[in-house]
């Protein structure tokens, strides 16, 4: 049988034309199978690298964004405390307390740890403050409050007849006065007001708690005031 061998221009054997070869075998012979496989792997790696590099680059978010997401508030979620002081929010406030229902926390005002308002138009006021040491002494502070309520000053001996109330785990002097209230810096007096206050002295810090407002309103909110007193705690924050 005759076997036909097809030679290209260099004398190398090539596929017969009827086999459909689009191009002749390369000069010098055919590629080695191992090299072909390596080339396929290399092509695949390059393709993947190209895809990775062409992956969408992180575009910078815009400077102005409309809020589109919302979350339904569950009825079981506790109500957030409104008007908490920065120190309170961060757990750096030296005290913790519960604001009575219907009262509103405001401030913070200078020298006041807690400052609240109550009443239909916020005409009632309650706050907690402190002075270092004995704060000037019990008698001086009681007479200061008496002066604000347009009352005559009392003597040292009169302090013994005054009542006490528990505050921060210890007895505090209870001061109850009625009259025309003129707070420090006020130009006119507020008639028919009532003052309920506590003074708790110590060697390091003297706490003052004071509630003022129209006499009827103060009497009406007395129970909530006492609830607030029972809720006050002093804590060690460990922060500067």
């Amino acid at each position: 049988m005759n076997t036909t061998h097809h030679l290209n221009h260099t004398g190398c054997e090539t596929a017969p034309p009827h086999m459909g070869a689009a191009r002749p075998a390369p000069v010098g012979g055919r590629r080695r199978p191992q090299a072909a496989r390596s080339l396929t792997v290399a092509r695949a790696a390059l393709a993947l690298a190209g895809l990775a590099l062409l992956a969408p680059a992180c575009s910078d978010p815009p400077d102005r964004v409309m809020i589109e997401e919302t979350r339904t508030i569950s009825p079981r979620e506790p109500q957030p405390k409104i008007n908490a002081y920065d120190g309170e929010r961060f757990g750096l406030h030296p005290m913790s307390w519960t604001v009575p229902q219907g009262w509103r926390q405001v401030g913070p005002a200078p020298m006041r740890f807690v400052d609240m308002r109550f009443g239909p138009e916020g005409e009632g006021e309650a706050f907690v403050s402190a002075l270092t040491g004995d704060g000037g002494g019990l008698l001086a502070n009681v007479n200061r409050w008496r002066a604000e309520m347009d009352q005559e000053p009392i003597q040292e001996a009169d302090l013994e007849g005054m009542g006490t109330m528990n505050f921060l785990g210890g007895p505090a002097l209870l001061v109850e006065l009625e009259g025309d209230y003129r707070p420090v810096g006020a130009t006119s007096a507020r008639e028919n007001h009532r003052l309920v206050g506590l003074i708790q002295p110590s060697t390091e810090l003297t706490f003052f708690v004071k509630m003022t407002g129209p006499a009827d309103l103060v009497e009406q909110e007395r129970e909530r005031f006492e609830q607030f007193l029972r809720s006050v705690r002093v804590r060690s924050t460990g922060q500067s």
Partner: protein, 470 residues
């Protein structure tokens, strides 16, 4: 002319055929469209090998990285990303070589495409006969199941929510919060929503503010909000303190002090500078919000409306409530080693209240949610007593059981394939044995007796007479 066996050069013929096939392939390849060539590459074993190799590299570097940077950050960088830059430290920390590489998210996506195309290509290229289908069905099932497992991972990544719920005894909750995902929530507290309207909060995801470094700001707005919010100066881990004199980060007497990142991401307490600018031209307010805050920031507007704003963990709603009735923490006698954690809870839903028990290896499953007993603790009260609380890990994953089904299907597919191949092998062996044992005897030779040695089968048949058949 009859082709004589001794005239045939089998090796040469094979080489020629191989050469012709390769040229045929090249010819076909040259005739193929670009799309067809791309499909060939993307469905090839070579691409799969490269992808798996790169996945191995990413997994190796990610595993080393998480020792220093924690699981969450490493997962985001190496496994949730499209691409990343690994910093290879050379020497005792004196040289860092940045190595860009594709992230595992991209690689898994490419692997899915590669396996899908490979499966389709091989299915359609096989002879479309019942026999071919049966012989390949096991592999197809196994291959498809692995693809299904990749889909399960994709669904889990995009749709799974995971967090925790801490309850004191007697406390009820219907929410769980994320371990890692932070959001800013803005909520109107006054005036209250009208009758029939559900209260809600506007939510800004951390993806919108976590890139804001020192001095950088972004403004957020909504048509229903009477103010704009400018967020900036995001700090990943921080602690507030009373501001020192001259502090550049002081707001309202407090400042935020940056701290090193915790290895456990959930321990980081982030902070963000917030500035609310009313639309009516009123005075803007500027404060820090802190991830560890006890209370939210309050914004009092001139029109009397009140809003709260807080930086908190993302919260999700459950379709039912859970009340912790009793938490039992048993220890082995005489030791502090935990023996059991059992939470007696009441599940409250539209159908009523149902007593349930959640303990280790016995979660509560309902409505696609799973509550696991995760941890516990106690709070010291002022009276000196302790108030215990139980912590549940809550997971919602639509593809929770898919990997299990996929593994079972892979096992079934491989078992089927094994049985088919075993059957074919046995059938072939029996056929071949029958052919050898029943060899056609030579003319006139008579039957082969069992005590006679088998005739030599290696000798070539006697040549035909010259000229016959030509």
């Amino acid at each position: 002319m009859t082709m004589e066996p001794k005239d045939v050069n089998l090796a040469g013929a094979g080489e020629s055929v191989g050469r012709e096939m390769r040229q045929l392939k090249r010819g076909r390849r040259a005739d193929k469209s670009l799309a067809a060539k791309v499909l060939d590459v993307m469905s090839s074993y070579a691409v799969a090998i490269v992808i798996l190799f790169l996945l191995m590299i990413v997994t190796f570097f990610g595993t080393l990285e998480q020792v220093e940077h924690g699981l969450y950050d490493t997962q985001r960088k190496y496994f949730d990303s499209v691409w990343l830059v690994h910093e290879l430290k050379i020497g005792p920390g004196w040289m860092v070589l940045p190595i860009p590489m594709p992230g595992a998210y991209l690689l898994m996506g490419l692997l899915f495409v590669n396996m899908s195309l490979g499966l389709a290509r091989r299915m359609f290229k096989q002879p479309r006969t019942v026999g071919a289908f049966v012989s390949r069905s096991g592999l197809i099932i196994a291959h498809g199941s692995i693809l299904f497992m990749l889909v399960a991972g994709f669904v889990s990544y995009h749709f799974k929510t995971e967090g925790n719920m801490a309850l004191f005894e007697g406390q009820v909750s219907d929410q769980y919060q994320s371990y890692h995902n932070r959001v800013v929530e803005v909520r109107q507290v006054h005036p209250q929503p009208a009758e029939g309207e559900e209260p809600f909060a506007w939510v800004i995801d951390q993806e919108w503010f976590e890139d804001l470094g020192r001095g950088q700001n972004r403004t957020f707005h909504h048509p229903d909000l009477p103010f704009e919010l400018q967020l900036g100066d995001y700090v990943r881990n921080s602690m507030p303190a009373r501001a020192e004199q001259g502090s550049s980060r002081a707001l309202g007497g407090f400042e935020i002090r940056e701290r090193p990142l915790e290895t456990e991401s959930e321990r980081n307490l982030d902070a963000l500078r917030v500035r609310a600018v009313p639309h009516d031209g009123g005075q803007s307010v500027e404060h820090w919000v802190w991830g560890g805050s006890i209370h939210p920031l309050t914004l009092n507007l001139a029109d009397g409306s009140v809003y709260t704003l807080e930086l908190t963990r993302r919260r999700w709603q459950l379709p039912f409530s859970v009340r912790l009735d009793e938490f039992i923490h048993g220890r082995h006698p005489g030791t502090n080693i935990a023996r059991e954690f059992i939470s007696h809870v009441t599940q409250i839903d539209a159908t009523g209240e149902h007593a349930r028990i959640i303990q280790m290896n016995e979660p509560l499953r309902d409505s696609g949610f799973v509550l696991y007993q995760a941890s516990f603790g106690s709070e010291q009260l002022a009276s000196g007593t302790e108030r215990p609380y139980s912590v549940f890990a809550v997971v919602r994953n639509p593809s929770d059981q898919w990997p299990l089904w996929a593994c079972i299907a892979v096992a079934v597919g491989l078992l089927m394939h094994f049985c088919v191949r075993l059957w074919l092998h046995l059938a072939k062996s029996m056929k071949g044995h029958g052919r050898r044992g029943g060899r056609r005897p030579k003319a006139g030779a008579g039957p082969v007796r069992s005590d006679e040695p088998a005739p030599d089968q290696s000798a070539s048949p006697e040549p035909a007479t010259a000229g016959a058949g030509r």
